[in-house]
């Protein structure tokens, strides 16, 4: 029983790592930039497929993810530019339209994936997949450990970037008040563009982590939509450390539910957490209470 529990806990925490990295892009895009990018999980799936194709030609999936990262960065900037031109510049703060835009993009991307690669599950092969690390009563498959490591590294890197570099500080500042930025002669639109590029870049890494963890099909994005948004809200909008903590919490709760209640109940966990957060403390763990 204790063994079961401790394995569940460890699995949950490790899962939290990948949930967190899948949510990091949303923390930046939605939490900091107020862009409701519901298409982000679908981009993570796209990242997973990129890692898959890299793996087909012999690359380690994680390496493949890293190689695709710059492309995702550029795509992110283009994507933000399109959004900016269509919506923000015209002064239409209408959430209905921008939400629908991203929803449409998510759907189109998912269908393109279905048409391009089919609905079968795809997985990657690597030396460490299939092996596990055992410490005492706890067995940790490497396909869980590696994504966790990716997640923590990207998360830590993101945190360092946002707190220690000029661009990072500018991004956090623009989230607060972009008029102030204009006074210091920085262009908020340019900064937001880079921020969105970075957010999209995390999808490349998250995708690689995703496909290492489990085989992937185009529909997996739907599972992650609820999770990622629940994590971003639980974290406190725009908080990177909060994202890591919230990811761990959700991962843990899902793992415990799967182990002790039943796997078919797991999808309900993140939604319940989301509602509970909104009901009790909408500003999230690390957010500022208003």
């Amino acid at each position: 029983m204790l063994e079961l529990a401790s394995n569940a806990v460890v699995t949950g925490l490790l899962l939290g790592g990948i949930y967190a990295v899948a949510s990091l892009g949303l923390t930046i895009a939605f939490g900091l930039l107020q862009v409701p990018n519901v298409a982000h999980p679908t981009f993570v799936v796209l990242g997973a497929y990129c890692a898959y194709f890299g793996n087909l030609v012999g690359l380690d999936p994680v390496l493949a993810g890293a190689l695709f990262a710059p492309a995702f960065y550029a795509a992110g900037m283009l994507f933000y530019e399109a959004y900016f031109i269509c919506f923000e510049r015209r002064g239409r703060g209408d959430t209905l339209q921008s939400f629908t835009f991203f929803f449409g993009v998510a759907l189109v991307l998912e269908v393109v994936l279905i048409l391009a690669v089919g609905v079968d599950l795809r997985s990657v092969g690597a030396g460490y997949i299939g092996k596990s690390l055992t410490l005492g009563a706890v067995t940790m498959p490497y396909r869980l450990i590696i994504p966790f490591v990716i997640g923590s590294t990207v998360g830590a890197g993101m945190w360092a970037f946002l707190t220690r570099t000029h661009t990072g500080l500018a991004i956090r500042a623009v989230a607060h008040d972009d008029r102030a930025l204009r006074i210091v002669a920085l262009d908020p639109a340019r900064i937001k563009r880079h921020a969105f590029g970075i957010a999209m870049m995390t999808a490349a890494f998250a995708g690689a982590a995703l496909i290492v963890l489990n085989p992937v099909d185009p529909f997996i994005g739907g599972e992650y939509i609820g999770r990622t948004f629940a994590i971003v809200v639980l974290a406190g909008m725009g908080s990177v450390p909060g994202t890591l903590v919230a990811g761990a919490i959700i991962g843990l709760m899902e793992s415990l539910v799967v182990t002790f209640v039943g796997a078919s109940w797991a999808p309900g966990v993140s939604f319940t957490v989301l509602l509970a957060t909104l009901a009790v403390r909408p500003s999230g763990i690390f957010g500022i209470a208003r």
Binding site: P36, V38, C86, R92, D94, T95, L96, Q97, F99, T100, F101, F103, G104, V105, L107, V108, V111, V112, I114, L115, G222, E223, I225, G226, F229, A230, V233, G262, S264, W265, P267, G268, S270, F271, L274, L275, L278, A279, P282
Partner: protein
Amino acid sequence: MSSWRFGFGALAVVAAGAALPHLVSNSYVFYAGFITLQYVIVATAWNILGGYAGYVNFGAGAFVGLGIYSAVFLFKAIAAPLWLQVLGAAAAGGLLGLGMGYLTLRIQGVFFSIATLALTIVLNTIVVNWSFIGGARGATVLAPAPVWFPSIVSYVFFATLVLAVITVAVARWIERSWVWRGLAALRANEQAAECCGTPTLKLKLFAATVSGALIATAGAPYPYYASYVEPGSAFGLTIALNALAMPLIGGTRSWIGPVIGALLLSSIEQAATVTIPTEVNLLIVGLVLIGFVVAAPDGLLGLFARRQNQGARA
């Protein structure tokens, strides 16, 4: 269109719907008609919260599924007749809309939309785990058609027609009342609306409840229509997408928009299903939706109005 003319038109439509089963024997008309009418209901009801108030509900599929399974539940539990199933669906949908609204609309509208994103998966999970209403295996619902109707599907068609007329009437009533103005004001600028005396929270919750209830009623006749219900088909992405696309393409500012959008999209999709695979269908709808959102945010109605250069309605 004055209220008298609308009422007369509505009665005429209902009467035609009652007569149709005795005039037409090709059941395909009723199958296709049911789907189209279901879309009319979902689009018009969705627009009450989405178009009038500006709050996006991504979970229309969940509300329809809730309606479907409320009907199944009532049928299996107390052999309820269709009208009672509809009431049950409306109650469930209304409660869900109210509950979600109460939790999220007091904070920020964005959170409402986010919560609805996950709704479909959650309700799917609940249904899958509940064997009384069929679970993953599915549920069979067989009932004889009432006396007037030669087939169950023509009965379902008529029931859905009545529901569609009711939904459009509700949307039209809202639109001609101070409620629409209050919703439009809070959609434009909530704080300013409050400072003008608009009870924004009450209006938001009202819209969420009514919208949820009506969307759910669209699902209630489905078990009779299909005889067999399982979670995969009940909670579909197509409905969620169409619930957004139809009002946005038709025009969100009036009840006429969603109806136009529903009639248009439904006929195109049904015609297309024969020739192109579902995925391509979804792709095209998605692209058209993006196109409209970017280039014609007020939908077809808006394009038409711009061309006519209409002024105010006061």
